[in-house]
Amino acid sequence: MKESQTVFATTEWPYREINRSRASDYFTLHVAPSTQFYQTFDADAWDPNAAVVIGNVYSRMEQEGAAAVVRQVTSLEDQLRAVFGYTKRFDELCERVAGLESKVDQVLKRIGDLSALRRSFLVPIETLEPEPYEITRPFTAVVIEAEGEFEAGIFDLSMFASGDTEEEAIANLKETLVDTVDRLNGLPDSRLGKGPLRQKSLLNKCVRKVEKG
């Protein structure tokens, strides 16, 4: 029957832990992990005092010419400490970079939001020339830039048009307006729904056809 227990562990000592194994009538001390040194004790010789155990192991290692290994392990320990030191600094740097990334994300989001804002401006509509219509009550169109195109609209008249440029959008809006006046006046009120009927009424208050001659 074998049983095993860790009897000593330290971060100061080069050997991270020492396992005590029991095999019938003797104990084996396993100095783990890198030295691979073992020391066997008679069961009766087992000294529970960890310092004595470690001392015994250390002496045995020296006797076996393990000084080089000890130095190597110590050197590894130093390197590990250095690495842990770097790791700590690295962690701090990572934390700072994460903070900066978060702030950059916020700035980029803000820039995106600002870019997504639809630029808009007002354009007074004062003439429908060369179409034979005159404006009896001036109105203002709103031009909105969105998704690479321009939308022009007269909200009061529910009149909207699109264009590649501001000028094209306004020109299309004027054409739509004139076409709509013609079309709605060409239909009897009984054939107009609520929206178009209201639109017709408003349009006729703002736009009048000029008779030639």
Binding site: S162, E175, K194, P196
Partner: protein
């Protein structure tokens, strides 16, 4: 961006009547022989934007896309117009 294809898809779905204007083609939506909505189609490349479409149809841009791409049915569109007291 809503395009001419979207406009024509909406016109098909709503069974709109085409109407020729000066330099624009329009589609008119009649319900019970009453004109309810009309929208213009730009005579140019099919890629030209038709951002005015949602406002002409009294719906949001998303609803307009849904109307064009199928999820929104004609009946649902009519229901939206009813809720806005446009029918």
């Amino acid at each position: 961006m809503l395009t001419q294809d979207d406009a024509e898809a909406v016109a098909d779905k709503l069974a709109c009547t085409p109407y020729e204007g000066r330099s624009h083609k329009y589609y008119e939506f009649f319900v019970d022989d009453k004109l309810i909505a009309r929208f213009g189609v730009r005579r140019a490349s099919k890629e030209k934007g038709h951002g005015h479409l949602p406002r002409d149809l009294h719906i949001t841009q998303r609803q307009c896309r849904d109307l064009s791409k199928c999820p929104l049915s004609k009946d649902e569109y009519l229901q939206i117009l009813r809720e806005k007291d446009l029918l």
